[in-house]
C-alpha cells in the first residue's frame, strides 16, 4: 500500500480559529439585521462550517445542510444538462410558512438562510449578497494553519479502535 500524491487534496483546506471567529461575526451581523430562523455556512459536501440559529429553533442542522448541499449540486447538474457554464448563484425553496434561500459563496462554500414567510425576499437577497461579499475574502485568507502532526497518532488510533469496537455493534 502506498499513498499517491494526487490524493493529498482529500483533506480539505483548513480554516483557522481566526477565520471561524470572523465568519461567525459576519453571520451574527446579518442575523442582527434580518429576522432569520437559521443561517448556515456549509461546504460543498454538506458539512457545517458555521451557523447562527434563532433561540428555540428546533430544526436538525446536519440534515438541513446535507439536503441543501445535495439539492444545490443537483441544481448545478441540471444547469450543466442545459448547457450552463457557471454554477447556479442561488436557489429558493418556498414553503407554506418559511422559505429556504441557498446561495453560492464560492466554489467550496454556500450559505443557507431559513426565514419566515413574513420577511421580504428582496431584503434577504440584498443583505445575503452583502454578507457573501464579506465572507469571500475571509475564506480566502491564507493562514498557514497546519494539521497537527499527531492528529492520528498511535494513541489516537488505538483508542479509536476500542471506541469503534464498543460503539459500532448491536445495542442491547
Amino acid at each position: 500500500m502506498h499513498s499517491s500524491e494526487y490524493q493529498r487534496d482529500t483533506v480539505e483546506p483548513i480554516l483557522s480559529r481566526e477565520q471561524f471567529v470572523s465568519i461567525s461575526d459576519t453571520l451574527a451581523a446579518l442575523a442582527g439585521k434580518l429576522r432569520i430562523e437559521a443561517m448556515l455556512l456549509v461546504n460543498s459536501s454538506g458539512r457545517i462550517i458555521a451557523s447562527n440559529i434563532k433561540t428555540g429553533w428546533r430544526g436538525d442542522m446536519t440534515l438541513l445542510a446535507t439536503l441543501a448541499a445535495s439539492s444545490f449540486s443537483a441544481a448545478n447538474e441540471m444547469g450543466r444538462v442545459l448547457g450552463e457554464r457557471e454554477h447556479f448563484k442561488m436557489i429558493l425553496h418556498e414553503g407554506a410558512n418559511r422559505n429556504i434561500f441557498v446561495s453560492t459563496v464560492n466554489s467550496h462554500y454556500f450559505l443557507i438562510v431559513v426565514f419566515e414567510k413574513g420577511v421580504a425576499l428582496g431584503m434577504v437577497r440584498l443583505l445575503t449578497k452583502k454578507t457573501i461579499q464579506e465572507l469571500v475574502p475571509i475564506l480566502k485568507l491564507k493562514t498557514g494553519e497546519k494539521y497537527p502532526e499527531n492528529i492520528f497518532d498511535g494513541r489516537f488510533t488505538s483508542q479509536l479502535d476500542d471506541e469503534l469496537d464498543r460503539s459500532l455493534t448491536e445495542f442491547s
Binding site: M1, H2, S3, S4, E5, Y6, Q7, R8, D9, T10, V11, E12, I14, L15, S16, R17, F20, N43, S44, S45, G46, R47, I48, I49, A50, D60, T62, L63, T66, L67, S70, S73, A74, E77, K146, Y147, E149, I151, F152, R155, F156, T157, Q159, L160, D161, E163, L164, D165, R166, S167, L168, T169, E170, F171
Partner: protein
C-alpha cells in the same frame, strides 16, 4: 475528511456503493435499528414509491470523544440503478471511503462488476483510483440460496485484495464489521497522506 477545529469534530464521509437492489439501503436500515440510539441521528431516505433509492440515504453516527475530539461518520448510500449515474457522482463528492455492497446471487455477477467499473470511472474523474482509495467489499445476501462462493467472488471482484465480508443485511451478518473495517482503512490512508504532506513541507 473534514475537521472543525472550533467544535473539535472529525467528519468522515462513507458511502455504500453497489448495483441496484444489492442491499445498500438495507445495510443502513440495519445499522439504524440496531445501534445504540444515543449514537445516531435521523435516517433520511430519498426514494421512489417503490422504495428504490433515487438520490441517497443519509445517517450520521458519532462515537465517544477521543482526546476531546469527536469522530462523526456521515453514511450515505447511492442509487444503484444504472440511470442514476449523475446522482452517484454527486453523492461521491468528498467521499473518504466506500463499502461496495455486492449481490452474492449468481445472476448478479455481471451487475456487480459493471457497477465496480462505474465506481472506478467516477473515482478517476475525481483524481482517485480503486487501487489507492480506502474501500472494502461486502458480499451481501449470503442468506439466500443460489449464491456464488466467496472464492469466486474474490476472484471476480476483489481486484486489489481489500478486506471482504460475507454478509446479510437482513440478518445483520457482516454489517457492523464491514463499517468498522472501512473506518480503520480510512484512518490508515489518511495518516499516510498526512505524512506525505508533512514531508513535502519539510
Amino acid at each position: 475528511m473534514f475537521i472543525n477545529w472550533m467544535l473539535q469534530e472529525i467528519h468522515l464521509k462513507l458511502v455504500y456503493y453497489g448495483p441496484g437492489l444489492s442491499g445498500k439501503t438495507e445495510n443502513m436500515n440495519y445499522i439504524y435499528s440496531h445501534i445504540d440510539p444515543a449514537l445516531k441521528g435521523d435516517l433520511i431516505s430519498l426514494k421512489t414509491k417503490e422504495d428504490r433509492t433515487i438520490f441517497f440515504d443519509f445517517l450520521q453516527l458519532e462515537v465517544g470523544a477521543i482526546d476531546g475530539k469527536k469522530p462523526k461518520f456521515n453514511l450515505y448510500t447511492v442509487p444503484g440503478q444504472v440511470n442514476y449515474s449523475l446522482s452517484r457522482k454527486i453523492v461521491l463528492n468528498g467521499v473518504d471511503g466506500i463499502i461496495f455492497v455486492a449481490d452474492s446471487q449468481k445472476e448478479m455477477m455481471n451487475a456487480n462488476l459493471d457497477t465496480l467499473l462505474d465506481l472506478e470511472k467516477h473515482l478517476i474523474a475525481d483524481g482517485k483510483t480503486l487501487e489507492d482509495f480506502p474501500w472494502v467489499l461486502q458480499y451481501n445476501k449470503r442468506d439466500l440460496p443460489n449464491i456464488v462462493s466467496i472464492d469466486e467472488m474474490n476472484e471476480k471482484l476483489n481486484l486489489f485484495g481489500v478486506p471482504h465480508f460475507p454478509a446479510s443485511a437482513v440478518t445483520g451478518q457482516g454489517v457492523f464489521p464491514a463499517l468498522k473495517e472501512l473506518i480503520k482503512q480510512v484512518v490508515i490512508k489518511t495518516k499516510q497522506q498526512m505524512t506525505v504532506q508533512q514531508e513535502k513541507r519539510a
